[in-house]
């Protein structure tokens, strides 16, 4: 039914970002590989640019040098003046916005894949920033089906307060790829291969779309971000408990009211006090201790995506 088909221009310009966090090694390694030899990622009629977004952080093997690049793409930062005086990552954000944006404009790249790792046991996760982006929803549906029976879940972060300004947000269709668990600074072959495969499926989707394939309406199960849960802390801001052993590594599994959530250093259990079952993720991510986050809660939702196909000239 053509009336209900959403039309998008062919996605001609695609970027693959690695090293947005300099110590998340799968993306750093894949992008460096593809910058040397791009045969694996080439697709007909498509310009695919692999790119290291935070080279200084990559060189030092740290998450960031001055400030988190993946929070830096706010309008305020993108229009800030100050040149060299600005924090390194703000300068980088402006540069990336010039090269791949400008954010929000017709000239912006069609799709950006931003490659990340997490210390959390999240498996393969695709991160969606808008529930209304039919193109992205259809892509994620395609990837999930192509990757099956292996699991690839979708995290939707549309929360007005918890949503943040990512590197990929410069593009018309931003796609986050988060694979874990992997320690910072470590490259694990299973994690590396998984990321390589889901990216391959993503590029196949774009290729098929550009060739004129119509994707019928579909539904996609997503986990929608609800709330950030911090560690219990003392008056000086020091953590006084750890993620409970029953919750550790249980990303995406139901957390019911009354379930163990934290364990104090002297062995006491702190229970989840919410009023309904939630699905926690980003459990015990190393980088989030400083962001006051032990885990985020999500709820399961099924999103409907309209049929999509390429605009015809």
């Amino acid at each position: 039914n053509n009336n209900n088909t959403a039309r998008f221009d062919a996605a001609r310009r695609v970027a693959i970002f690695g090293g947005t966090h300099g110590n998340e090694m799968s993306g750093v390694t894949l992008v460096n590989l593809w910058m040397q030899n791009s045969a694996e990622i080439q697709r007909k009629g498509l310009e695919i640019k692999p790119f290291i977004t935070n080279p200084k952080a990559v060189e030092k093997c740290v998450r960031y040098v001055d400030t988190d690049l993946n929070r830096a793409f706010t309008q305020e930062n993108l229009s800030a003046t100050g040149g060299d005086e600005l924090p390194y990552e703000v300068q980088r954000a402006q540069e990336i916005n010039r090269m791949f944006g400008p954010k929000g404009s017709a000239e912006a790249y069609d799709v950006i894949f931003d490659l990340h790792n997490t210390t959390s046991n999240m498996g393969c996760t695709l991160i969606l920033e808008s529930s209304k982006d039919a193109f992205n929803l259809q892509m994620m549906n395609y990837i999930k089906k192509a990757f099956a029976p292996a699991s690839c879940l979708v995290l939707l972060n549309e929360h007005p307060l918890l949503k943040y300004s990512t590197s990929r947000s410069v593009a018309k269709h931003p796609v986050g790829m988060e694979v874990g668990p992997q320690p910072q600074g470590v490259l694990r072959s299973n994690i590396f291969e998984a990321m390589r495969v889901i990216l391959k499926h993503a590029l196949d989707f774009i290729s098929l779309f550009n060739e004129g394939m119509e994707f019928p309406p579909c539904t996609v199960e997503v986990f929608r971000v609800l709330e950030r849960m911090d560690y219990p802390r003392d008056a000086n801001g020091n953590i006084i408990a750890m993620v409970h052993p029953n919750l550790q590594d249980c990303d995406w599994e139901p957390l019911n009211p009354g379930d163990p959530m934290f364990q104090t250093f002297d062995g006491k259990t702190i229970h989840y006090q919410g009023s309904s079952t939630v699905y926690p993720t980003f459990i015990n991510e190393a980088a989030y201790y400083e962001k006051q986050q032990a885990f985020v809660t999500t709820r399961r939702e099924t999103l409907a995506a309209s049929a999509i196909s390429k605009t015809t000239k």
């Binding site: 390694t29 590989l33 093997c61 210390t119 668990p181 992997q182 320690p183 910072q184 600074g185 470590v186 490259l187 694990r188 072959s189 299973n190 590396f192 020091n238 953590i239 750890m242 993620v243 409970h244 052993p245 550790q248 364990q263 250093f265 002297d266 062995g267 015990n284 190393a286 980088a287 201790y289 400083e290």
Partner: protein, 311 residues
């Protein structure tokens, strides 16, 4: 075997945060300080956060790896304005817990570490007749009581003057190394295991000090033989990742022909050499030290019954 007398242990130092992003030790030490753990029976207990700057920065070290600063040369080097923070800190710790090699040094120094490798709980020590005996007893004690995690002993054959790590400051010392845990992450299950291991150690010390006799027996220990680096290109960049058959298989015997690396272009590289046991497989901090994994021989040692020597 004949019963052996071992000199008493009057004091023990428990150290954490030697690498600032290995969090178990940091929080164990803080909790012990909060609980005012200063005595275990007649044994006095000191707790020290050894590299507070690195802990505050969430980094392994600020200028130099503190756990390489305890050689005789570095401990006696003159301090100038340009002396690296960790070298200074090592000399402070040597004054507080040593001096290394002297009669004033703490009797036992335990340094708490984490690794990203799947090593379970390891006691790392340099062989020294009495140290082996008492640590071996501890291992046996742990094994009987710590059922949730594999417990192993690793020996590094380095003479005292060249010994570079913190525990060499004590008359006896060992590191407790537990993994896998990512840098910057605090896992409750690992915290609980290390806390239990320390409780058992202090219990053992109290029993030992009060004259208890410990039975002899046998124990396996792994002795470091050599390390293996990643294959690299002409620019020095690693061209491969640890093969999935080796990843997480620390202490599983490696034989000639077993896959060890997978190159980024998909080729499999195989191990060639004598049968040895890999450990510290894919330890994050060792990338810059050009180590993909270490290899060890495994030997069984028998040891006699021991009790404390009465003065």
């Amino acid at each position: 075997m004949e019963r052996t007398s071992v000199p008493p242990i009057h004091n023990v130092a428990i150290c954490g945060g030697t690498h600032g992003n290995e969090l178990t030790g940091v929080y164990i030490v803080r909790e012990m300080q909060k609980q005012k753990m200063e005595k275990a029976g007649s044994v006095s207990v000191t707790t020290v956060e050894t590299n507070p700057r690195a802990v505050a920065a969430g980094r392994r070290y600020t200028e130099m790896d503190l756990n390489r600063c305890f050689t005789d040369v570095l401990l006696s080097s003159p301090i100038t304005e340009s002396t690296l923070y960790e070298v200074r800190r090592a000399q402070e710790l040597n004054a507080q817990l040593g001096p290394k090699g002297s009669a004033e040094a703490v009797d036992l120094l335990i340094d708490l570490h984490n690794t990203t490798s799947n090593m379970g709980l390891c006691l790392i020590l340099r062989p020294n007749r009495n140290a082996i005996l008492s640590v071996i007893h501890k291992i046996l004690y742990f094994k009987n009581n710590l059922s949730s995690v594999p417990v192993r002993a690793i020996q590094l054959d380095i003479p005292s003057s060249k010994a570079y790590s913190l525990e060499s400051v004590g008359k006896h010392g060992f590191a407790i190394e537990v993994g896998p845990q990512p840098n910057g992450v605090l896992r409750a299950d690992i915290f609980n295991v290390v806390k239990e291991a320390l409780d058992l150690t202090l219990q053992w010390l109290q029993k030992f000090s009060s004259g208890h006799s410990f039975e002899g027996g046998t124990v396996e220990a792994y002795t470091f033989v050599k390390s293996v680096d990643y294959p690299r290109d002409s620019a020095g960049k690693a061209t491969a990742v640890i093969h999935q058959n080796l990843q997480d298989n620390d202490f599983k015997l490696l034989r000639s022909g077993d896959p060890i690396f997978q190159t980024f272009s998909g080729d499999i590289l195989k191990y060639e050499g004598e049968d040895l046991y890999p450990f510290f497989v894919n330890e994050c901090a060792y990338y810059e030290k050009k180590i993909a994994f270490h290899l060890a021989q495994r030997k069984t040692y028998s040891f006699p019954p021991i009790s404390v020597k009465n003065d």
